[in-house]
Amino acid sequence: MPSLGADMEAGTLVEWLKKPGDRVVRGDIIAVVETQKGAIEIEVFQTGTIETLLAATGQKIAVGAPMAFIRAEGERAPAPSAPGPAPSPVTVAPKAAAELPRVAPLVPGGGVRVSPAARRRAAELGVKVETLSGSGPGGSVTLADVEGAARAAVPSPAQAMRDVIAAAMARSNREIPHYYLGHTLDLEPALTWLAAENAKRPVPERMLYGALLIKAVARALREHPDFNGFWLDGEFRPSQRIHLGIAISLSQGGLIAPAIHDTDRLSVPEVMAALRDLVKRARKGGLRSSELSDPTITVTSLGEQGTEAVFPVIYPPQVAIVGFGMVLERPWVVAGAILPRRVIVGSLAGDHRVSDGHRGARFVTAIGRELQKPQAL
């Protein structure tokens, strides 16, 4: 079970899309898992043949726990009498593998009586049997008691998502020494270029200025690698690839920040197409596990109904987040004359364990510079 965010502990298997004997290639979607972030398509990390499915539909699987055994190319099947090399379990975060829900052992005489089926189910559902009052013979806890308690404990989807956001942001504020920078960027050249470009395009191929902001951040990151990567095990691990996480608000409340992969290598129309697709899938379902697990930095844009500026909170284990306020029309001095000009406030929250305000300022001004030549984005 891959980790789909710093705050995720487990996912519930909704459906297997492959069966034993099927050949799979790294990146194939093999299962659908329900999380607090909705139903997510799980991509396989290894090429080979599925040997055994270890998880059953409806089962809650801890992050890091194996979901299936996959036999790699050339790996021998075990002989019935003498087992050969064990196939590799599909697992992503081995250090979390031990965090399976556990049930306290029964204390003879003093504790509650629990049927074996109820105990197994309680372990799967993460229900603490010692807190239940049983309805079975002699006050024993039955399967129905466990399932009833699990249902009662399930928060609404909106509350579940709020809990996930709160956990990630609390961790961020606890662990990351943030610093903040803001700078007003001239957006007139980008918006003028965009209007001319959109006038040539049929309605479905028109672009939003958000695509230009995203591309400008991705290009600026190439020269400023201190902001692209992860803080893991006490050190910064820069990422060679640039996967911008895009904060997308959801109609039922909450938000999610999946990645546009290799953002810096896409053209602006390609970024726009990827953005449309990502927003649609974030709101209607169908996000893929890699999109949630590998953003290397996040961008948040408040849009037209927002405020002038945003002071965003870094999403761990990332080390920076870039924010944009709404587009503002302001008097602006251009070559000694005051002109009406459309501007936007770009902000950066950086992680002091990795960078400081001086380098942060250079990164923010680089984003502004990229926006001055939109045709080159």
Binding site: A195, N198, A199, P202, V203, P204, R206, L208, G210, S249, S251, L275, R276, V279, G303, E304, Q305
Partner: protein, 86 residues
């Protein structure tokens, strides 16, 4: 196409991007962008839905006229009669 048919079409296009839409409480003469939680991506998808249903081009400069139900019905009726006029 009658105004009533156009209004149905506009409301359907809007419901496609704002599932929480309650037609009864939506003021048709006021901007729905203030009444619904619609962002620029939702608005673009709404315009695309109108474009695909009616097969007419809608220049970006005319988008402000599509932000209320009444405005959109009036604008689209005019465009259908004389596609080259704004």
């Amino acid at each position: 196409m009658t105004d009533a048919e156009l209004k149905r079409l506009v409301l359907d296009a809007l419901a496609g991007v704002a599932p929480e839409l309650d037609e009864a409480s939506l003021a048709p003469d006021k901007s729905f962008r203030d009444q619904l939680d619609i962002d620029s991506m939702d608005f673009l998808n709404y315009v695309i839905a109108l474009h695909e249903a009616l097969k007419i081009d809608i220049p970006e400069t005319d988008y402000p006229r599509l932000t209320s139900i009444d405005g959109a019905v009036g604008y689209l009726g005019q465009r259908l009669k004389s596609p080259s006029a704004g």
